[in-house]
């Protein structure tokens, strides 16, 4: 009886789903040995395939990651490899700056073609740029301040003109290089059709579902519902030409099941239903030590992955007590027990601040070499220095005048809050440790975890005084880093900007630092660059407008080798970055996967 009932129900579910299924797919089961499964990228239903639009929520096809653009379906001119900073041709072959860094000439690959067989031309790049600026999509708004125009020279050659400042110098050549690796190109003919059917209206162009989109990448859409999204290999992909990869990527299907939360994705990885997992998994070593599963990470020992960014606590300079007391800022920062944060919030998947001393740089060798470690060694701190913090505060005259156990400033008790969004567990754990440090040095710090929607409204408001210490991560890696990140830490550009998602969330102003930051993009002499970055590090560590709490990968990369193997690994000498086989040069891994026999 119950069986029959269940059967009937299942049937009715199938019937209700069937039309959608038949419209999209002709295979009912994805052969396990031809499919690479992902987790931790796509949350929620795919909304659109419109590469020129916004809000696509389409992480497998349309996503600019912190380690490079995801070029499964739409391709960029170049790919970035954050392991060595290399810029590798994709749609384009080469690029060349002119003397003044005002123009960059890009030559497209001869072989590069769209899925409909037409060649990728300079006109496509020009059209993509023009319409992006016109409708204000991500590419248009991100690079609009740095790129003035793009012109086609001939069918395969184009020139990107940098925006110039009042004195005729380029605003920021580094950001123009970012465009080369970070912005996907769409087909001009398709864009024309898109603009036409929406009557040129920006909002409807951005919201167009783009089901007829033309792509150039090795994969394309195959099936999507609210439980999964599947891409299928395009066997006519131009990249099998010898001038690019010389072959097709190995998996025929790329599939991503939409999990409700992290634990569900983690369970699926353990069960072998996921091959590549972009999720933070606490105590990941237990997966192989305790559970003895064929799971591995890029490095076999802690920190297991490549940390590219550092979640940071920002001091709110709108609050006089913080703005006027560098000693208070530094005291809190040196009192925090970072080892606990790293052991607890990151379960040691981050190098400690003793191993990689704090600066403006991420822990990669390339960035670490950009400043003089010895020059700032005295300014750096590894944390948990309670006595030092107390001495600093006493010296600055921030003492407990009314004997209530808490220090006062101008006769008022110093009372701060430490804020991060509710449910962001690793950050919440970190804020607890920051609050505990305050307790030990006589500065009252209470934790506050508003819902994400409220948090993001407040911390992006340049005039807010509600949050005193709050968390956000600066940029990870791209050709323009560490400059972009340094600008986020110390740059004046972002001060006072409404709805500020871009940087300097503490509204810290330092004219000297800002002048150096403006100087760096145009500086090409390496020794001079190093001197400038060292000076900035010195300012940052003295002034402490913010303090990083840990290092963190921008993409987590854990793989289950029960079906596929030969994933990138730290000791394989291939220099393919652990970018989930999808982002930037990380996609090279897809061409070298092998089946486990």
């Amino acid at each position: 009886m119950k069986k029959i009932l269940a059967m009937l129900l299942a049937l009715s579910m199938v019937v209700s789903l069937a039309p959608a299924a038949f419209a999209n797919a002709d295979v009912s089961e994805l052969p396990r040995e031809e499919t690479l499964y992902f987790a931790g990228q796509q949350w929620g239903t795919v909304l659109s395939w419109n590469i020129m639009g916004t809000n696509q929520n389409n992480s497998m096809a349309i996503a600019g990651g912190p380690s490079g653009y995801r070029t499964l379906m739409f391709e960029t001119l170049f790919m970035y490899n954050f392991m060595n900073g290399e810029i590798i041709g994709l749609l384009a072959d080469s690029y060349e700056w002119n003397e003044d860094l005002t123009k960059v000439t890009v030559v497209l690959k001869d072989a590069a073609k769209w899925c409909d067989g037409t060649p990728v031309t300079a006109e496509d790049v020009v059209k993509t740029w023009d319409v992006s600026v016109q409708v204000g999509n991500t590419a248009g708004t991100t690079y609009g301040a740095y790129i003035d125009s793009i012109e086609a020279v001939d069918e395969k050659t184009l020139v990107i003109n940098a925006k110039l400042d009042g004195e005729g110098r380029p605003v920021n050549p580094l950001k123009v290089t970012d465009f080369l690796t970070g912005s996907p190109i769409a087909q001009a003919a398709w864009i024309d059709a898109l603009v036409e059917r929406n009557g040129g209206d920006a909002v409807s162009i951005l919201n167009d579902p783009g089901d007829d989109v033309i792509w150039s990448g090795p994969y394309t859409k195959y099936y999507a519902d609210d439980q999964k999204v599947v891409l299928i290999r395009d066997d006519n992909y131009w990249g099998q030409d010898a001038s690019m990869w010389g072959k097709l990527p190995v998996p025929k299907y790329i599939a991503h099941t939409i999990y409700a939360d992290n634990p569900a994705g983690e369970l699926a990885l353990k069960a072998g239903e996921v091959d590549v997992c972009q999720q933070f998994i606490g105590n990941i070593q237990d997966l192989w030590l305790k559970d003895e599963l064929p799971i591995s990470t890029y490095y076999e020992e802690a920190p297991y992955g490549v940390c590219l960014t550092m979640p940071t606590a920002w001091y709110n300079m709108n609050l006089p007590v913080l703005a006027e007391n560098a000693a208070l800022r530094k005291a809190i920062a040196i009192a925090v027990d970072y080892d606990t944060i790293i052991a607890n919030a990151m379960t040691n998947q981050s190098p400690s601040f003793a191993e990689v001393p704090r600066s403006l740089m991420n822990p990669t060798d390339g960035e670490q070499a950009l400043y003089d470690h010895d020059a700032v060694a005295d300014l750096q701190w590894a944390g948990n220095d309670i006595e030092g913090a107390i001495a600093l505060l006493d010296e600055a005259g921030l003492v407990d005048t009314d004997n209530d156990g808490w220090r006062e400033y101008n006769g008022e008790k110093i009372s701060l809050n430490a804020v991060c969004p509710n449910g962001w567990t690793d950050w919440q754990a970190s804020m607890e440790v920051v609050a505990a440090a305050g307790d030990k040095i006589g500065v009252e710090i209470t934790t506050l975890y508003p819902e994400w929607d409220i948090y993001q409204t407040v911390f992006t408001n340049p005039n807010q005084t509600e949050y005193a210490i709050y968390m956000w991560s600066p940029e990870a890696a791209s050709p323009s880093n560490p400059w972009t990140r340094v600008n986020q830490f110390l740059g004046k550009d972002y001060v006072g900007v409404e709805n500020n998602w871009s940087g300097n969330w503490g509204q810290y102003v330092n004219e000297e630092a800002d002048a150096i930051i403006k100087q760096i993009p145009l500086e090409t002499d390496e020794a001079e660059l190093r001197a400038l970055y060292t000076k900035l590090t010195e300012i940052y560590l003295t002034e402490v407008p913010s303090f990083s709490l840990m290092y963190r990968p921008s993409l987590f990369h854990a793989v289950n080798e029960s079906v596929w193997t030969n994933f990138p690994a730290g000791d394989d000498g291939r220099n393919i970055p652990p970018a989930d086989c999808t982002d930037g040069y990380g996609i090279a891994a897809l061409y070298e996967l092998e089946l486990v026999d």
Partner: protein, 335 residues
């Protein structure tokens, strides 16, 4: 017959007044939440922008599109007007997806999960309760405490325990989702089987928790009725035991039917935990993500569905009782 008409007229009037009050509450409550969802959408778009006026422009564009710049009252009438046309608006968090589209893709899963679970739980519970009342003795002594214990396991506790036990430890059940991870919905036999296997854990997590409560209620009602005067009188008259028992359980069922109807009415709320823990698609998880994303239109729509379902169920119950329960009947003719 006049009594009936008056009774129904009054009931229908109340139905509409309650419906309107509920509509107002459904509209206002989510909008009292302090977050600004338009700024959330703007934030997604504007990340990486340095130009303040461009950001403001995007913000205004969305504000106009969602109508959040209009006064609350105007917004309410727009909401009502659209509702008349079956238009529940555009979702904020899954913009530009339509709310009706999100709901229609989720509601099937919830009904298919909940309705059978509620029915089976109800049937099994009542059967056990009736048996306990009728047999008493050891059965009752053992069954009642066990049922009580089971019904006191919190829904999430049951779901997590089943998940860990059967999916993680014993590996005899799938871990998540509505169908197998390597399948694409289609009409094949294998797909149907996959749907059924994925169905088991969420289904039983709901059934096991609900059996206990039903059994206890049914047991009490049955004992109450078994001891009632009419039973003694019937026995005295020499009516067959089997027949009496039939009457007894029919009477005892009446309040249980109310309970069943109410749990069907509130099933979306009840599905929340099971759906979240098993990553099962459906309205419960939709509602949860809508709340955390301050997605007013989606929250309003999900709560509205629950509200209307409960309203309709209570209304129908009132009507049916008017016909079948002699006591209610008597009350109408009294007044």
């Amino acid at each position: 017959m006049k009594g009936y008409r008056k009774y129904f007229g009054k009931k229908i009037l109340w139905f509409f007044i309650t419906l309107i009050a509920a509509l107002i509450l459904n509209f206002i409550l989510p909008r009292l939440m302090p977050a600004d969802p338009v700024s959330a959408i703007t934030g997604k778009m504007a990340s990486g922008m340095t130009d303040a006026s461009a950001v403001q422009e995007i913000y205004k564009r969305y504000e106009a599109e969602f109508g959040t710049n209009k006064p609350m009252l105007t917004q309410f009438f727009i909401f009502l007007k659209n509702l008349m046309h079956g238009d529940l608006g555009t979702s904020f968090s899954q913009y530009p997806r339509k709310v009706s589209d999100i709901i229609s893709s989720a509601i099937g899963w919830t009904i298919c999960l909940q309705l059978p679970a509620i029915l089976v739980g109800w049937l099994l519970g009542n059967l056990l309760g009736a048996l306990a009342a009728y047999i008493r003795k050891g059965f009752d002594k053992v069954l009642l405490p066990v049922a009580l214990f089971m019904s006191n396991v919190p829904a999430f506790g049951m779901a997590v325990t089943l998940l860990v036990l059967f999916a993680v430890k014993l590996k005899i059940a799938p871990i998540a989702g509505g169908y197998a991870f390597d399948m694409i919905p289609n009409m094949s036999w294998r797909f149907v089987r996959s749907v059924i296997t994925h169905y088991q854990l969420p289904f039983w997590s709901i059934v096991l928790v609900s059996i206990g409560g039903q059994a206890i209620g049914m047991r009490s009602m049955s004992i109450y009725e078994l001891n009632a005067d009419y039973v003694k009188y019937a026995r005295f008259l020499g009516i067959k035991d089997r027949k009496i028992v039939g009457y007894v359980f029919r009477n005892a069922m009446l309040p249980q039917v109310t309970g069943l109807a109410m749990s069907i009415g509130t099933m979306i709320g009840g599905a929340l935990v099971a759906e979240i823990i098993f990553s099962y698609p459906g309205l419960g998880s939709t509602m949860y993500s809508a709340v955390t994303a301050a997605d007013y239109p989606l929250i309003s729509a999900t709560t509205l569905i629950i509200t209307i379902m409960v309203l309709v169920v209570t209304f129908l119950l009132d009507i049916i009782y008017g016909f079948i329960d002699p006591r209610v009947k008597a009350a109408q003719f009294d007044s």
